[in-house]
Symmetry: C2
């Protein structure tokens, strides 16, 4: 059996690889939330503190795209995974694998972009590693970051409860469509830009405003994948109101042009939350005050049952399924 | 200016890239030992605990070699970097970049090997990430691990003091020569094997037995690189006695055959230590009791001055220089 591209898509086929091979470690937990949870990160209790640990390798193409670049993604992707566990980002590692012949000026631009994102995220890169491979052994550059943070109260992606309200922190599909239109050479001017941004401030504001039961960032596989994982792990049904989903008009147009569902592609600065119903309005208001939360919206609710159901504007219903593969490879 | 293979060798040219590009982050320290120290890892004080953080990407070829494989290196490399900072390994992340078409059975063997190494190292893989790239975009597989540990008393590579005794924990050059002879198709039977192993127990025993001032693991660039970095950062001279250096006869023969200096190639289960002179014998005895420390030896001493000097058996002297490039690319 061979690895195929579907194994990297974050969808169902990837799930099989995870379940059958990549999570077969007997040594998979250091006392808190470990690999067995397949959450956005792990939690390790040390002397009453919850240390959050996470990692991501970044291979996005092109390296620079409208709204961001591989460096900004490398910092925000890991900082946001920490935030999804309720963790304030503290320190990151940076390990680069670089192809012989790679332009050092481009490397400098990437490092500068990472530094700006760190500034914004309130974190530092404290240690690193660099490997250089011969021409043809790696396509340009891959950047791994791992990170640690501290969580006052860890949040899981699996703790939705019937009655919970589902909030998304802003418009969906921006990053995936920015990558795709940029790759295809479509010029949407500045209308379609990646949303890549650190979301800890927004998440923290939400947690201060009320009870956040579950969180996940809709990266690979997009909102469809994130909300299905949350529903399945929590053993509940989620009902989404189609008309309430915030999607930019430009993103919707581009997605129709390209035949891509904006709910199936990666976001890099968004959060999907399940919150206590009595706190939903307060949490929404807190998120909306953040610079990255202006378009936040209540998009659904949790009930008993299973699956994710989309309630359409004309009173219909259909399943929201996780994408089987990834419509946009190398999206992050 | 373009990246070349020398930039990945861990030697002087790599040092320039580090100094001029890769360490230009303003956000480079989370309060303890940060990127600016270019040590084996970082230290982050959290509520009086010293959290050690480190990362390494592994691209060794072949994937399986006498004495080990990429999985064992991925675990030991990171666990040992934690140990070099005085940190007991606790939890690791694992991020794989895999080429389309890679054999899942091989992946399973790698995962099993990682799990055995974790068992031995007393650590767990608690979170991970997987990316699949199209054929030709990555050569087979690259494995990044990052890790956290806890240090009662952090140890740096830059704190050698005049008077200190230099100890190496075992024979030098085994890993680099195992990789090289295996690649070249030489059959030395079981005589030349990688030393890849977790060294925390050995390091801990040494620290319990006396005062360890500085430590480094002689990986890329080998003993020559490690001891030069330690001397330079500490602002001291190190004098090594050639006859005391433990090098297997088989490794010495193979290195002569291949024209490679065994002091210039990577070790994956060794430590170079500078220790207080009055504790040297006790520390050596403690190391020798460990299964990976049987061949440990006192190999030199620290004096005022600079550079690393080799004192030869016939009373001569020469410099030990860090290798400019790496005689064995993709050694780890």
């Amino acid at each position: 059996m061979k690895i195929n591209m579907m194994h990297g898509a974050g969808g169902a086929v990837f799930g099989e690889l995870l379940g059958e091979t990549l999570t077969k470690y007997k040594n998979n937990n250091a006392g808190g939330i470990g690999l067995e949870s397949l959450d956005d990160g792990a939690v390790i209790p040390i002397d009453g503190k919850n240390i959050v640990l996470t990692t991501d390798s970044h291979v996005v193409r092109p390296l620079f795209f409208p709204g961001g670049d591989i460096g900004r993604i490398a910092v925000c992707g890991t900082a946001n995974d920490l935030a999804m566990m309720g963790g304030k980002p503290l320190a990151l590692t940076c390990s680069m694998i670089i192809e012989e012949g790679f332009d050092i000026e481009i490397l400098e631009r990437i490092v500068q972009s990472m530094d700006s994102a760190l500034e914004e995220a309130g974190a530092s890169i404290v240690t690193g590693d660099t490997k250089v491979l011969a021409k043809g052994e790696i396509d340009g550059i891959a950047i791994n970051t791992a990170g640690i943070g501290i969580a006052e109260k860890p949040v899981r992606d699996s703790a939705l409860k019937p009655g919970d309200i589902i909030i998304v922190s802003g418009t969906l599909g921006d990053h995936g469509l920015a990558i795709m239109t940029s790759r295809e050479g479509f010029d949407f001017g500045e209308q379609i830009r990646s949303d890549v941004a650190p979301v800890w401030n927004l998440v923290n504001a939400a947690m201060q405003a009320g009870e956040v039961h579950a969180m996940k960032d809709p990266t690979r596989g997009g909102f469809s994948n994130a909300i299905n994982e949350m529903a399945e792990k929590s053993g509940v049904q989620v009902r989404i109101s189609e008309e309430s989903l915030p999607i930019r008009r430009s993103v919707r147009s581009a997605s129709e042009l390209l035949g891509i569902n904006p709910l199936d592609v990666a976001n890099e600065g968004k959060v999907v939350m399940g919150v206590a119903p009595e706190d939903a309005e307060a949490i929404l208001a807190a998120i909306k005050k953040d610079k990255y939360g202006k378009d936040a919206a209540i998009v659904g609710r949790v009930v008993e049952g299973k699956s994710v159901i989309m309630e359409t504007g004309i009173g219909g219903e259909r399943f929201i399924e996780p994408p089987v593969g990834d419509p946009v490879p190398r999206v992050c």
